[in-house]
Assembly symmetry: C2
Homo-oligomer: 336 residues x 2
């Protein structure tokens, strides 16, 4: 039985093994991904992003609990907790114990923490591959949690069908400024820690920003390419999704059911509007392009002696050649 077959038959140990292979980008991992790919495309991918201090991890925990205990039949839930701020240590900062206590021992919940190894592009690619593994393994919901609100996190969140942006009251002005950018990727806005003072004014501020931003456009963005979907005509307002704002107190489980309901509604909207298919296509296009890039570069580099590249680089360092001229020489195949 291949590794992929073991996973399709529900072997959890095989799943763990493949995730490690995928993260380390081994040939065995890649072979299994190819074999599993026809079995993907069923899961609902949910991105969860927002600034530090908003309580994303607890919220993800509560959502997982909800899908396990409050939904009939219970859904199978995978969590990918990505921490791009830790590129070198390899530590999994996000594998916190709160989660474990509530969900440990449940075979239909799988939590995987990923620290960044290598480049950001690599991290987004690896997250996509890990999501595919969970998808093929039959997890219904895949929650992709990213810490922070930089562009790296945005790109990872864009893997998702549905993106939650989490805010909390009273996080300061600097964070206010960030919201402007992050708001545009939100399908659902969450004001967590809503028992704190200022929750209502945070909600009001978000509402104002939403009104300014909408309904001019709804955009799919992937690696800098924008696929604009024009605002609908007046006679078909139902094609537009206006991000709802949900107040939660994740530490007490308050608001989780409402949030799950909003997620459900968004999935229904995506399917009825055709956006689900459009997002799938955009996502897979990004994946194909990233792979293409990787293959082209490695093919090219293996055809050129390392010494030649080193020599050109020295000329660049000495300012005898500009980087553009060096690349022209390399590509023209007459570097000397």
């Amino acid at each position: 039985m291949t590794l992929a077959q073991s996973i399709l038959s529900g072997d959890r140990l095989a799943l763990t093994r493949l995730l490690t292979q995928v993260e380390n980008q081994t040939a065995e991992g890649r072979a299994a991904l190819v074999e599993l790919f026809p079995h993907t495309g069923r899961a609902h991918l949910i991105g969860v992003t927002g600034s530090p201090g908003t309580g994303k991890s607890s919220l993800v925990n509560q959502l997982a609990l909800h899908y396990r205990k409050q939904v009939d039949p219970p859904k199978r839930v995978a969590v990918i907790a990505v921490d791009p701020s830790s590129p070198f240590t390899g530590g999994a900062v996000l594998g916190d114990r709160v989660r474990m206590r509530d969900l440990a021992g449940d075979p239909d919940v799988f939590i995987r923490s990923m620290a960044s190894r290598g480049s950001l592009g690599g991290l987004a690619q690896t997250s996509a591959a890990v999501a595919q593994v969970f998808d093929a393994a039959g997890y219904d919901l895949i929650l992709i949690e990213t810490v922070g609100a930089g562009q790296s996190e945005v790109e990872i969140a864009e893997l998702a069908h549905t993106t939650l942006v989490v805010e909390a009251p009273g996080l300061g002005d600097d964070i206010q400024a960030i919201k402007a950018g992050i708001l545009e990727i939100a399908d659902i806005l969450v004001v967590n820690k809503a028992d704190r003072s200022g929750a209502d004014s945070t909600e009001r501020a978000l509402k104002n920003m939403l009104e300014l931003a909408h309904p001019a456009r709804k955009v799919f963005r992937h690696h800098g390419r924008e696929m604009l979907v024009e605002a609908p005509q007046d006679d078909q307002p139902e094609t537009l999704w206006l991000p709802p704002i949900i107040q939660t107190v994740a530490s007490q489980g308050t608001g989780t059911a409402e949030l799950a309901e909003a997620i459900e509604k968004h999935a229904a909207h995506l399917r009825s509007s055709g956006d689900w298919a459009a997002r799938e296509r955009a996502r897979l296009e990004v994946e194909v392009e990233a792979l293409l890039q990787e293959v082209l570069v490695s093919r090219f580099r293996s055809a050129i002696p390392e010494k030649e590249i080193e020599k050109l680089l020295s000329q660049v360092v000495n300012r005898q050649l500009s980087p553009w001229e060096a690349v022209d020489l390399l590509v023209a195949g007459r570097a000397e």
Copy 2:
């Protein structure tokens, strides 16, 4: 006179025009970059990064003021304020008025806010190109400020010879967790807002983390590649740089002189240890590789009809082909 020649002769309007060309990646901009490249390599590039709320912008402002008013002869200062969290609006959130009030009208200070357009890779590349323009234009110090602490910001900070990581007291646990990763890129640590309670304990916490991290290794990291410099032998301890921790209150200008002194010391250390040249080389290598990638992919794509790519992509969306198989077909040139 070419655009590049105008810039070399000190024409500020030409400089502004080229920056826009570079950001828009025009052919004219690229030609000017090639012409300017031999004139680069003199500026000291200083990255400034840290979490939201730490007061990075004010600190950068104070540093610029210091180099203009407290140093004899005054240094020419450029600031590149990058905001990767705002990928779509194109707004320059960071061009704040505090700066303008203190530094406006000084022809030897140039502040450029950049919002992300396109991919993160694109943003790091564009920042590098903008820094080259300032370098060729004779700016002595180039401060590259990034909001946030995700990997995107790390990559941008790595353009620099010297990286400042800014912290502030009392930003919460989530941010504590981030420090572990960000600490590894710090050449100098700044505890800003040091008049707040908790400044000393923040400094102590940083010191503890530094002691845990050092002196095992000092690393250059570029796009996931690690160039490990082993810890020095006991008989040559002077080759190791231990990041100092500087307390500042940027809103009052406190500590700026000490910070500038630490920056100066770091530059001297880089030069005497050979690290300056090593960082230059690593940086230019990353730039050459990014360009190579860009050229290879665009050459490849222009040789293949868009329709063919679309057709393969549809097969991927329908799960008839995996992304890996699609790329193999594309590269083998027998996609059908």
